[in-house]
Amino acid sequence: MENKILTDDELLERIDAIGIPFGRHGYDPYGVDRRELLKNFKRLNWMTQNYFKLRTHGTHNIPAKGRGMLVGNHSGGFGLDGGMVIASAFFDLNPPRLAQGMADKFIGNMPFMSALSNGLGQFTGLPEHAERLLEEDRLLMVFPEGHKGTAKLYKERDTLVNFGSGFLRLALQHKAPIIPFTFVGGGEAVPTVMNLYKLGKAMGVPYVPITPWIVALPLPVRMELIFSEPMYFDGNGNEPDEVIEGWVQQVKERIAGLLRQGRAVREGHLHPEEIRWD
């Protein structure tokens, strides 16, 4: 990722270069908010330059235009991984792209959070939303582990939990390439020692992560984000479950391999130029 703090004008220029059809009020037909994007990218720009030490690899594997599905692992804590993917797609790609994630359903009920996540193009995780975004040739970001993935504890940080298969059927039905990615370092940034599920339930969230310093403020650690070559499967999405499951496993294995490489890069055992993209 290039080392630079952009001005508001430069950020707006990049936001407009994404090609989102903003209307008169600066909102697109889904409520993606130009001003909210500016605020968010300003924040991400500062965070990735001054706070976290984020390195991105393989961004050339993300399609420059047209639909695509970024599929990766959660690495503990909360949606830090998603934020870093959004930052990478915006700051690393030319022209920039907006990675649109599928937010957990509980967010839709939370004041401010729901308005914010929608304004940033992070819609509630529904197949209908994914289909619409793909049909409009946007870039979708999917974490097939779901919130069980963000709930990983420190010791589980670089493992993968069960993958859902819905994303793969969607990719096949809409002929979208799958770009597997891995994110390493989130577990170190937010080393979760336990998750409070009952407190979470009372607060209307799935759980509340607890770190050694209690609140889940992330540490400024080194993080690696690796995008691999796109994967295509020859199918239409109507294949039986066992066929789909086999392909999901292929994606999962690709991500597991990336994860091992990411760990090695982060610890200095592997030079970034030696990363295998397939």
């Binding site: 209307g23 008169r24 009020h25 909102y27 037909p29 889904y30 409520g31 908010d33 359903k105 839709g108 009920n109 939370m110 004041p111 401010f112 959070m113 729901s114 308005a115 819609f123 509630t124 529904l126 209908e128 939303h129 619409r132």
Partner: protein, 315 residues
């Protein structure tokens, strides 16, 4: 060639606009409405009859209309809930039976996009095959949801009638007609703190044009009717020259109808939190409908009470 059209709810704000448009387009219009002495456009014959009563049936028997536009359903309450349910459901039933018994060829049912219901986990754009959501949280809408589905069932019960059910988004315009106009009525307009859902509006004149188009094209089926792309509620309120009062949803529930804030049904609060946006592509494909007025014009027309001449010009 003009049609003989019965319009129920013809004395209402939108009803009278539809009548005027139909007369202008060369149709013969018979309005049915028990309300007296309001909004009767020139050239429209208004018969003061309740659609559930004998007088209404007599109109069908003796006048043999070609088509019906059914606008006599009620959203909020000048009458009791029981009475409203009877108007919305028994009335709709009676009307379909008359159409069947007296050879009416087409019927346009005017429904509402609120049919779909507001919920945090509902898709942003609703299609006509989406089921209604969260009815239990908005019981005031239940009979309208039922009336909509009942009207749709005419497609198989009376297949000889060209039935179209139009689910129309919020209307806005100089007549200040409808639910949204009521909500935006006062100088202070409440919002649920921390939420800013998208709202979809269509100019009154565009709605009238869409309804008449549905009649003339004799489309069959269920359709969403929309105008310009949606805009956030906060932008809508500000552009209408109103002041936003953002309150937590729990408090809003208690203070609605007081302190200069509009009276809202309990379930309506959810509609200030989650969007109900409809996908109107199917209607456009079936009729070639194009809206003539964008949101800016519609909001200005509403805010100033002026704006356009009737009937609606077409783009």
């Amino acid at each position: 060639m003009g049609l003989k059209v019965v319009v129920t709810g013809a004395a209402g704000k939108l009803g009278s606009l539809v009548c005027r448009h139909l007369v202008h387009a060369g149709h013969e219009v018979i309005g049915l409405d028990p309300r007296r002495g309001v909004n009767v456009p020139a050239g429209v014959e208004i018969i003061a009859a309740d659609i559930r009563k004998r007088t209404a049936e007599e109109v069908f028997r003796s006048r043999k209309p070609d088509a019906v536009i059914h606008m006599a359903t009620m959203a909020e309450g000048r009458v009791s809930r029981d009475e409203r349910e009877r108007i919305n459901l028994q009335g709709t039933r009676a009307l379909f039976d008359h159409c069947h018994n007296y050879g009416v060829k087409s019927l346009v049912f005017i429904g509402r996009h609120t049919f779909y219901g507001a919920a945090a986990d509902a898709p942003l754009y609703r299609k006509v095959d989406d089921p209604p959501r969260a009815i239990h949280r908005y019981p005031e809408l239940a009979d309208l949801v039922a009336a909509d589905l009942y009207a749709g069932s005419a497609l198989w019960r009376y297949p000889e009638i060209h039935t179209s059910v139009l689910r129309i988004c919020y209307t806005l315009g100089p007549m200040k007609h409808g639910t949204l106009a009521h909500y935006l009525k006062g100088p202070k307009v409440p919002m649920a703190l921390g939420f800013d859902p998208l709202f979809q509006i269509i100019h009154e004149d565009d709605v009238v044009a869409a309804i008449c188009l549905a009649l003339e094209k004799q489309i069959r089926g269920v359709f969403n009717v929309t105008g310009p792309p949606p805009l956030p509620l906060s932008a809508l309120i500000e552009e209408a020259g109103r002041e936003v009062v953002a309150l937590p949803a729990g408090i809003l529930r208690r203070v609605q109808g007081r302190f200069g804030l509009p009276r809202l049904a309990r379930g309506a609060i959810a509609h200030l939190q989650h969007p109900v946006i409809i996908d109107g592509k199917r209607f456009v494909e079936a009729t070639g409908f194009e809206y003539a007025f964008d949101d800016e014009v519609a909001i200005r027309a509403f805010a100033t009470g002026t704006g356009t001449g009737h009937p609606a010009p077409r783009r």
